[in-house]
């Protein structure tokens, strides 16, 4: 409520609104007053009926109502209305004062930092603090991520890297649980960035009759600010892969302006992109395409240059860790017949050191050609017959091979390769693919992201020439990017020669997405050319054309054009991205403050990718100085194959975590992750004063919200908070100026109306 409104309220109703909120209204039993009112109303009505004058019944009724209302108010006063308040007994109750000690208190909203504003009211010499100290036994606390006692507010340093209001309130209320507590005063900007939800705590505080009085510091809205709210990149990628980063930007006061987003890796600029800032209150999303070309644990810095007039620049930048792996991912490509597609796919990715496409080509009945195998034994028996053999690969490409070639178990295995092993499956178009290959009644029909057309005559071969174009989703996806920018890529797609398909596919499954469509003369509707869906733990892709090699050979394609190579590299890298090895590792906080504990989680599987619970798992953590120590990981019991351990990085720097798993003396696998202990700038994100949160905390606990302008009323209001040692106090209401004014107004109005109607 605005201060002037409160003043007017207090003048009219004798007390401030807060007292009415906290108090209980009482009055004498009104029976006699009601009887008198009824008799009086009847007398008024009769007297007006008898009055002379040429007025209608409406006028007389109005006059009767006015006079009766005035009578009612007088009778109300005679019933002794009062407000009963619980008032804290001075010097018998404690009051906790919690002051935010985090970095966001250093923000200067209007020339003065929030810390300085807090000191004005709660510094040792501040009148408010003295007034509070006169009435209560004060206990001071500082809080950021945790809370602790504070001797004096002059000891505040404002260097906490996170803010947890829940921790602060919990700690203070626990420490003061054994004493009569008048309430807690929370002095903060409310920029809570911890994970705990304060909503669970508030009912408990209310039940214990501990009101929280919140003092909000800082601006609710910055005049000008750009904030890089969120950056999402995959946790790990293969070296040389094109990565798509999803970026969200919010702003105040700069809507519609264009800014440059720059992405750096160790000082080297990877990408620059122009972003148009959204309207106030909205956030804009942007996609940035980068290539991770250096292997190892990297940190990508996304930043927007500070704009003139911004009070904080720390929220214009985000550092995002990413693990760039330099391993060779193995893909099994099984082609059921000699096809040029195999030749050109091999050529397209031959130079990619991070992909190994092992080819098994059926050349004739029971005769296979094996290419790029690791040794003479690999695939010597043809297509893998055991899960152990098949699950060694990270991706499978199925060419034109009929379903009848596989045994039922092999088909199930391929489905489980996707659903359980988490592998990637890509099926290519061809005369023995999809429905034409008899896959409709097999488990793979469920895995694939496309719907097979029904009611077709299988003896009638299908053929269509297609002009391929990306869908709106495909325009922004990294796999189908043919040029450095989305606009140039869209133009490039238009120039590609048409391809052909032997499989009519027009629909994707619910939940699947199309990246490419094809249109041809005489085709009813568009053909789905490239579609994708997640299936279980893995992903399934369908590429329904059978001659993408034309994008390499066609006379219209310049020799130096790399479209075919890039498309297949990107497609196969996407196929194997995120496919787990026998050991997968994640950390709770890839970036954390020194001294904050980090949980290491590992999932361990055997050669058939079944989770194991009896492995010996250890994390070897190497600190920035190169010293390594072991952190044992224990099975969490709650989840199959999941092992957990904790370590706390003591100093700033990068910590390399290598998790190794073994069982019965045999190595199962290993995986690496990184943890960076840095000064997090989290305090500068979402740093506007969170008034709704602070008001909610106050309201749900029976307290009140203040700004620096209204905080002088705090000392008085705590008295009526209801916490601590209290006595009941009755405050009369019969002499409220509002009542007198109302009575005078009613009587005057009745007299004036009577005069106007000629009844006076």
């Amino acid at each position: 409520m605005a201060p002037w409104i409160e003043s007017v309220f207090e003048f009219l109703f004798k007390y401030r609104p807060f007292l009415f909120q906290k108090g209980r209204f009482v009055m004498a039993p009104p029976w006699l007053a009601v009887i008198v009112l009824v008799v009086g109303a009847a007398a008024v009505v009769i007297s007006y009926q008898r009055a002379k004058g040429g007025t209608g019944p409406a006028t007389r009724l109005t006059l009767a109502v006015l006079r009766t209302a005035a009578l009612a108010l007088v009778l109300f006063c005679l019933c002794r209305p009062a407000l009963v308040l619980s008032t804290v007994v001075p010097q018998q109750s404690f009051l906790g004062v919690l002051v935010d000690d985090s970095q966001s208190m250093r923000i200067a909203d209007d020339g003065e930092t929030r810390g300085q504003v807090a000191a004005r009211s709660f510094g040792p010499q501040a009148p408010l603090l003295k007034a509070l100290a006169d009435r209560y036994k004060l206990r001071l606390f500082r809080f950021s991520e945790t809370a602790e006692r504070l001797p004096s507010t002059t000891d505040l340093t404002f260097d906490g890297s996170r803010t947890s209001l829940t921790q602060a309130l919990e700690r203070a209320s626990q420490e003061l649980s054994s004493v009569p507590l008048a309430g807690l005063v929370l002095v903060t900007d409310g920029a809570d960035n911890a994970d705990a939800d304060v909503g669970h705590l508030l009912p408990r505080l209310r039940a214990r009759a501990v009101p929280v009085f919140t003092v909000g510091l800082g601006r609710e809205r910055f005049a000008k600010d750009v904030e890089l709210t969120r950056v999402d990149v995959p946790a790990s990628v293969l070296k040389g892969t094109s990565v798509t980063a999803e970026v969200r930007v919010a702003q105040r006061g700069l809507g519609g302006q264009k800014v440059q987003l720059q992405v750096e890796d160790a000082g080297r600029v990877l990408q620059t992109q122009e972003i148009t800032l959204p309207a106030d209150g909205e956030s804009a999303a942007a996609r940035v395409h980068l290539t991770a070309s250096e292997a190892g644990p990297r940190t990508f810095r996304f930043k927007i240059a500070p704009q003139p007039g911004e009070p904080i620049a720390q929220n214009n930048q985000q550092d995002v860790p990413i693990e760039v792996a330099d391993r060779r991912e193995k893909i099994l490509y099984f082609e059921g017949e000699p096809r040029f597609e195999l030749k050109f796919i091999r050529r397209a990715v031959a130079e990619d050191k991070n992909l190994q496409v092992v080819c098994l080509q059926r050349t004739s009945q029971n005769k296979f050609l094996r290419l790029d195998v690791d040794d003479a034994d690999e695939l010597a028996g043809g297509f893998p017959k055991t899960r152990e053999e098949l699950f060694k690969y990270r991706g499978i490409i199925l060419g034109s091979v009929e379903a009848g070639f596989f045994t039922a178990d092999q088909l199930r295995m391929i489905a489980e390769f996707v659903s359980q092993r988490g592998g990637g499956l890509l099926t290519l178009g061809g005369r023995h693919s999809f429905a034409e290959g008899g896959y409709a009644p097999t488990p793979l029909a469920e895995v694939l992201p496309v719907v097979f057309e029904e009611g077709r005559d299988a003896k009638q071969p299908f053929f269509a020439e297609l002009k391929v174009e990306p869908t709106p989703f495909g325009m922004t996806h990294g796999v189908t990017q043919l040029a450095a920018t989305e606009e140039k890529s869209a133009e490039r797609w238009k120039t590609l020669p048409p391809l052909s398909t032997l499989n009519p596919i027009r629909r994707t499954k619910p939940g699947a997405v199309s990246l490419l469509l094809g249109r041809g003369d005489g085709l009813p509707g568009a053909q789905v050319v490239l579609a994708y869906q997640r299936y279980g733990a893995g992903k399934a892709l369908a590429f329904t054309v059978d001659d993408s090699w034309l994008w390499q050979m066609h006379a219209d394609m310049p020799l130096e054009d790399m479209t075919h190579e890039n498309l297949w590299r990107q497609l196969l890298r996407w196929l194997v991205s995120g496919v787990p090895g026998p050991v997968t590792v994640s950390v709770s906080s890839p970036r954390t403050a020194p001294g904050s504990p980090v949980t290491i989680l590992a999932t361990v599987t055997d050669a058939t990718h079944l989770k194991v619970n009896d492995a010996q798992v250890v994390a070897r953590v190497k600190d920035p100085a190169g010293v390594e120590r072991d952190v044992p990981l224990e099975w969490t019991v709650g989840k199959d194959g999941e092992y957990a351990g904790r370590f706390t990085p003591p100093d700033k720097g990068a910590y390399a975590v290598r998790v190794e798993a073994a069982r019965a003396g045999q190595t199962l696998g290993s995986e690496t992750a990184q943890v960076q202990a840095v000064d997090l700038a989290m305090e500068y994100f979402g740093a506007e004063m969170r008034r709704p949160l602070l008001e909610r905390i106050a309201e749900e606990t029976g307290g009140r919200f203040y700004t620096p302008q209204t905080v002088p009323a705090l000392a008085e209001d705590v008295k009526y908070g209801g916490g601590g040692a209290t006595v009941q106090e009755t405050r009369p209401l019969w002499d409220m100026p509002a009542l007198y004014l109302a009575i005078i107004a009613l009587v005057s109005a009745e007299w004036a109306y009577r005069k106007a109607r000629g009844l006076a």
């Binding site: 096809r339 050609l369 071969p461 066609h554 006379a555």
Partner: protein, 265 residues
């Protein structure tokens, strides 16, 4: 008089045939090659498969004698494909002859190319550019049936126009092309049908067969050179009882291996 008239007529016809230029190549030069043809299933019933994966594409080029490119055509082509379709049961192949000019942009739709009698090639500039683009983009060329020092020199001259600076190597016996489908251990000089009947395998001064190749800068074979040997005749006359079986067998094995290699490397 009548005999003289007959000689002149035959001679004129022969000259007309020999001087015929590749422009006269039938079956839609310059158009898309996916034409309708009745194909046969193993049980003999007709299948209409107008879009086969593989065509045995014969290069129609400018030569000194006009139709050098058409030696053994079309019987060798059809006979060879009959065998290929029986041996490579999963290859979706057209059974028909399929000539395409080297300067036809559509050439690039057929990544396997066969050229015969290349000792008598005399390529025009558009043909040089067309073949060069084809090979650099990923096409595979098999050349066959040219004999002796002079014809080798001519071929080398022509191919160095197409691929300047290329290196011609002798293919080692353990080259992947010789084990792509069949494991070929014995190599023969395949004679034309006349010499085979006469008990001789060589022509001109080509006494030793060369199985050579040209690789691209990544070590992939892009031109397979069969010199001082005549695989085409062995395909063409395979059904003749007098033509030695071992030559036909070897020629089919080489042909099949070249197809499989070209479709996988």
């Amino acid at each position: 008089m009548t005999t003289a008239l007959l000689r002149v007529s035959v001679g004129s016809a022969l000259v007309a045939v020999l001087l015929q230029r590749p422009e006269a190549v039938a079956q839609g030069a310059g158009q898309t090659r996916r034409f309708d043809r009745g194909l046969l299933r193993p049980d003999g019933s007709a299948v209409n498969d107008p879009h086969p994966e593989f065509y045995f594409t014969r290069a129609a080029y400018t030569g000194y004698w006009g139709r050098n490119w058409a030696i053994d055509y079309p019987k060798a082509d059809r006979q060879f494909m009959m065998g290929v379709r029986r041996l490579l049961t999963h290859l979706d192949a057209s059974p028909d002859e399929h000539p395409v000019r080297l300067d036809d942009p559509d050439l690039n739709r057929f990544p396997f190319l066969y050229a015969v009698e290349v000792g008598r090639m005399s390529l025009t500039e558009p043909e040089v550019l067309g073949l060069r683009r084809y090979l650099q983009a990923g096409g595979f060329l098999v050349v066959d049936d040219f004999w002796g020092t002079r014809e080798w020199a001519n071929f080398e001259d022509e191919i160095r126009q197409v691929l300047p600076g290329c290196t011609i190597i002798d293919l080692p016996r353990d080259h992947p092309v010789f084990s792509a489908f069949y494991d070929i251990r014995e190599f023969y000089q395949v004679p034309n049908v006349g010499n085979a009947m006469a008990g001789r395998t060589w022509e001109k001064d080509g006494f030793t067969p060369f199985y050579r190749g040209i690789q691209d800068d990544k070590g992939r074979l892009i031109v397979a050179i069969n010199a001082n040997t005549d695989l085409g005749d062995a395909w063409e006359w395979a059904e003749v009882p007098e033509y030695p079986l071992k030559y036909s067998t070897f020629a089919y094995q080489m042909g099949v291996n070249l197809i499989i290699y070209s479709m996988s490397h």
